[in-house]
């Protein structure tokens, strides 16, 4: 995993990733240079949290580490904060329904 630091402020783990992880608390309006484009954060993104590097459609899979980490539950614009409010797991909840298990 080589990882790529974007504009000194965020980390994209793998080249094909559609999200990057903030390396510091980033304010709304912060612009980052990503592959010659500019991505502007539409809201504040805290350290350790993710934002979209490009538009992600509702239902589209989200990639980090080069693999699918979830699915968008609504349309996501570039620079949007990506977290539990607009992402669902593809491995978790489906399995939960199948198992019918209860949370500890």
């Amino acid at each position: 995993m080589k990882g790529e630091v974007l504009d000194g402020a965020a980390l994209r783990m793998a080249p094909a990733d559609t999200v990057a992880t903030a390396l510091e608390d980033l304010p709304a309006g912060r612009r980052l240079s990503v592959e010659g484009r500019s991505v502007e954060l539409s809201e504040a993104v805290a350290f350790g949290h993710k934002f979209a590097l490009r538009a992600i459609e509702e239902g589209e899979e989200i990639t980090k580490y080069g693999y699918v980490i979830g699915r968008a539950t609504e349309p996501i614009a570039p620079g949007d904060w990506v977290h539990v409010h607009n992402v669902e797991s593809t491995r978790g909840r489906g399995d939960l329904r199948a198992h019918g298990g209860e949370t500890a």
């Binding site: 995993m1 080589k2 990882g3 790529e4 630091v5 000194g8 980390l11 783990m13 992880t21 903030a22 390396l23 510091e24 805290a46 350290f47 350790g48 949290h49 993710k50 980090k64 580490y65 693999y67 699918v68 980490i69 979830g70 990506v82 977290h83 539990v84 992402v87 669902e88 797991s89 593809t90 491995r91 978790g92 909840r93 399995d95 939960l96 198992h99 298990g101 209860e102 949370t103 500890a104």
Partner: protein, 401 residues
């Protein structure tokens, strides 16, 4: 870094069976909890080289449980970091100290046994044991120091006390070191099976053979079933609220972050708890619980000479037989707990590339192999526990056939 590069070297202890150790301990191994306190006292009173491995396994265990206990203790004694060993028993255990000693001695090292009941009890055991340790220490001193290269290293990696930095800094950095070691012909091993859940399909894709893939998925399923029996749904409970506050959104993300500590190599094999790890085996998984102390012991019993342990919040645990390198990606942890940390991976946050940080982890691995003590070693911070196959697990294993 090209494939034609010769692997880096270090100076270790060449054992009779050809394996290379990075330390030269005299292990004091009790066969049960009834002999553990004697083992601990013997080691602490004796020369600096003695290292006790106390644990809480009973004198009488169900067969499958006993086999795992024996395999673990034998593996610890056989680890190439051990120059000589003393096996201590009360004398009533199902585990036979003589048989265990034979298994350890099969590597060519000096091994003795001590039976508390046969030497007049506790005080006799402390006397005789002290004398035995002097003899074993002399044997260990005669070990041959020799240059070896990275291809002879079996590197175990662990994560504990994870936080938001683990999956983006410390783990990928250690993963980078694993990739380099594998490229140089060595073995990297990670475990903690419950943490594969959510990313097991990714690991499965990377398995080189069907047999490995099937075993992986079977072991993951087993651990998940075990959690079910305890009333926990791992998938539903992860990431925890604390994890989510830190930025982890899904179990896939968390687990991908966890497995990144093993790097990106193909998965060449999967072994069970405390089973032998191959030398020159590439990336190999071991089925262990997530419980750090038991998981580390499993890998050391499998032959790992060095452990790297990533920790966001600052776990301070070590191991008596293998040096444990602490790597943290959290700058506060590195600062506050500087005396317990070995590698600062939080520089990723400042923009240092993972490649560079990973390189530092790899360099640390080689330095430690060459004799540099870790912070845990300098403080003799050692934890040891054997994973006990409990009756509930036995019943579950039997049910699975």
């Amino acid at each position: 870094m090209g494939r034609m590069e010769t692997p880096p070297t270090f100076t270790g202890y060449r054992r009779e069976n050809g394996r290379i150790g990075v330390r030269n301990h005299v292990a004091v191994v009790p066969t049960s909890v009834a002999a553990s306190s004697v083992a601990t006292r013997l080691a602490s009173d004796a020369v600096a080289r003695a290292r006790a491995t106390p644990h809480q396994m009973g004198t009488s265990q169900p067969e499958a449980t006993r086999r795992q206990t024996e395999r673990t203790l034998a593996g610890i004694g056989r680890n190439p970091n051990v120059g000589a060993a003393l096996v201590v028993e009360l004398g009533t255990e199902d585990v036979d100290a003589g048989a265990l000693a034979d298994r350890i001695a099969g590597t060519g090292k000096a091994v003795e046994t001590l039976t508390v009941r046969e030497v007049g009890g506790t005080s006799g055991a402390l006397d005789r044991g002290a004398t035995a340790l002097e003899r074993l220490n002399a044997e260990a001193e005669s070990a041959r120091r020799e240059e070896a290269d990275a291809s002879e290293l079996v590197f175990g990696v662990e994560c504990g006390g994870s936080d938001a930095t683990s999956g983006i800094a410390a783990n990928p950095a250690v993963g980078e070191a694993c990739d380099r070691l594998v490229e140089h012909g060595g073995t990297a091993c990670f475990s903690e099976t419950p943490e594969f859940i959510g990313a097991e399909h990714v690991l499965a894709e990377r398995c080189v053979e069907d047999e490995v893939r099937e075993r992986l998925l079977d072991r993951v399923d087993r651990r998940e079933r075990l959690a079910d029996l305890m009333g926990t749904d791992i998938r539903g409970a992860q990431p925890s609220p604390g994890n989510q506050e830190g930025g982890l959104t899904t179990i896939e993300e968390k687990s991908l972050g966890a497995i990144s500590k093993g790097g990106t190599s193909p998965v060449r094999g999967m072994v069970d708890y405390a089973e032998d790890l191959p030398v020159g085996g590439g990336l190999v998984l071991m089925d262990t619980p997530g419980y750090d102390v038991e998981s580390v012991v499993g890998k050391v019993a499998g032959g790992a000479q060095v452990i790297a342990f990533t920790t966001g919040r600052g776990s301070t645990t070590g191991n008596p037989i293998a040096p444990v390198i602490k790597v943290t990606g959290n700058p506060k942890t590195y600062e506050r707990m500087a005396n317990n940390m070995d590698v600062n991976a939080s520089t990723v946050i400042d923009g240092e590339s993972l490649e560079t940080v990973g390189g530092r982890v790899y360099e640390k691995l080689l330095a430690v192999a060459d004799g540099t003590p870790t912070e845990a070693e300098r403080r003799r911070l050692e934890e040891f526990a054997v994973n006990e196959i409990t009756p509930i697990e036995l019943a579950e294993l039997e049910a699975r056939g």
